[in-house]
């Protein structure tokens, strides 16, 4: 084994190995991210009690309202986008969510500066910016995506409330 190691090292220095490992790791991680970014996932079980979510701090909207004060909950859905100053894809996300809010009646886009609302960020378990939460008319989180979503991805996850677009 040691011998094999020596043989390896004759062809490639430690530095070369580190370079190869770094490049392979970066490509693997990047491909994974390319695949998962912008995909909406259903949200984990929420501790919802029977009461209307708007007043219950347990709901996602309750947490958002606690942190931000008076905000308008969309009749159909609210797209809550968490952004930060050092976030290149936040810009594209802002544009896309804004377009969806204009396009679909009853959908509201709300952007939250993650840095200024770290309590909320922890409470809702936001790890990256941009992260987009889709909140239904009752104030419950139905899905979330991290990374910039495409427009179709957003449209497909908006809860249907009678009106179809």
């Amino acid at each position: 084994m040691i011998r094999a190691g020596f043989r390896f090292n004759r062809y490639m220095s430690t530095g070369a190995w580190i370079a190869v490992v770094a490049i392979v790791a970066a490509l693997a991680f990047g491909l994974f991210r390319l695949f998962t970014d912008g995909r909406f996932r259903g949200t984990k079980e929420l501790p919802v009690s029977g009461e209307p979510a708007e007043t219950s701090a347990a709901s996602a909207w309750g947490a958002v309202a606690d942190a931000l004060g008076d905000q308008v909950l969309g009749e159909r859905a609210t797209l809550v986008q968490f952004s930060s100053a050092f976030c290149a894809p936040c810009r594209a996300t802002r544009r896309i969510l804004g377009e969806v809010a204009e396009l679909v009646p009853g959908v509201v886009h709300l952007e939250v500066d993650a840095e200024h609302h770290l309590d909320l960020v922890r409470r809702l378990d936001i790890l990256r910016t941009p992260t987009t939460l889709v909140i239904d008319a009752a104030g419950n989180e139905v899905a979330r995506a991290s990374g910039a979503p495409r427009k179709e991805q957003v449209l497909s996850v908006i809860p249907a409330v009678g009106l179809e677009s």
């Binding site: 530095g15 580190i18 990047g30 952004s83 100053a85 050092f86 952007e111 770290l118 922890r122």
Partner: protein
């Protein structure tokens, strides 16, 4: 002060392919730093440290990479589909600088393996940026802020 919705419409964005081009050059320099024997590894590490310091200190529009991009690359490309805020890539240069300072000090202390690991981590970030336009330093930012103290709301 309502910092709730940042409608910062930074009209003066930069071409996102600029930082991407810079990251590609950074990949080349970092690979050289990992492959070359001493004293060249130290020299190349020092050069990249200075380059990151320029990017973090003066901004990504004022680096030698940006100048090359403007002179040689940009004229051959079409207009960018979207402009980008220069703050995120600048912050990433700062993160790169932190790694390179570790590598530089380690090289000076003859701790070659430590230097190479630091260079390797910077290389991961540079490859992600060059290939996927993905800013690793920016992602780490929120994670670090989450760990820190909360300004009482």
């Amino acid at each position: 002060m309502s910092e709730t919705s940042r409608q910062t419409s930074t009209q003066t964005g930069i071409d996102p392919r600029g930082p991407q081009f810079a990251a590609a050059l950074t990949v080349v320099v970092l690979v050289l730093a990992l492959l070359l024997p001493q004293p060249w590894a130290l020299v190349v590490t020092a050069i990249q440290t200075v380059l990151f310091a320029i990017g973090a200190g003066l901004g990504v529009q004022r680096t030698p990479h940006a100048w090359l991009f403007k002179k040689l690359v940009r004229p051959r490309l079409g207009a960018p589909s979207e402009l980008e805020d220069p703050a995120p890539p600048r912050f990433a240069q700062g993160v790169g600088l932190a790694f390179l300072v570790v590598a530089l000090v380690a090289h000076l202390l003859d701790a070659t393996l430590v230097a190479q690991i630091a260079l390797g981590l910077a290389l991961v970030a540079a490859v992600l940026n060059a290939v996927f336009r993905f800013c690793l330093g920016c992602e780490i930012y929120l994670l670090i802020r989450r760990l820190g103290p909360t300004p009482s709301a």
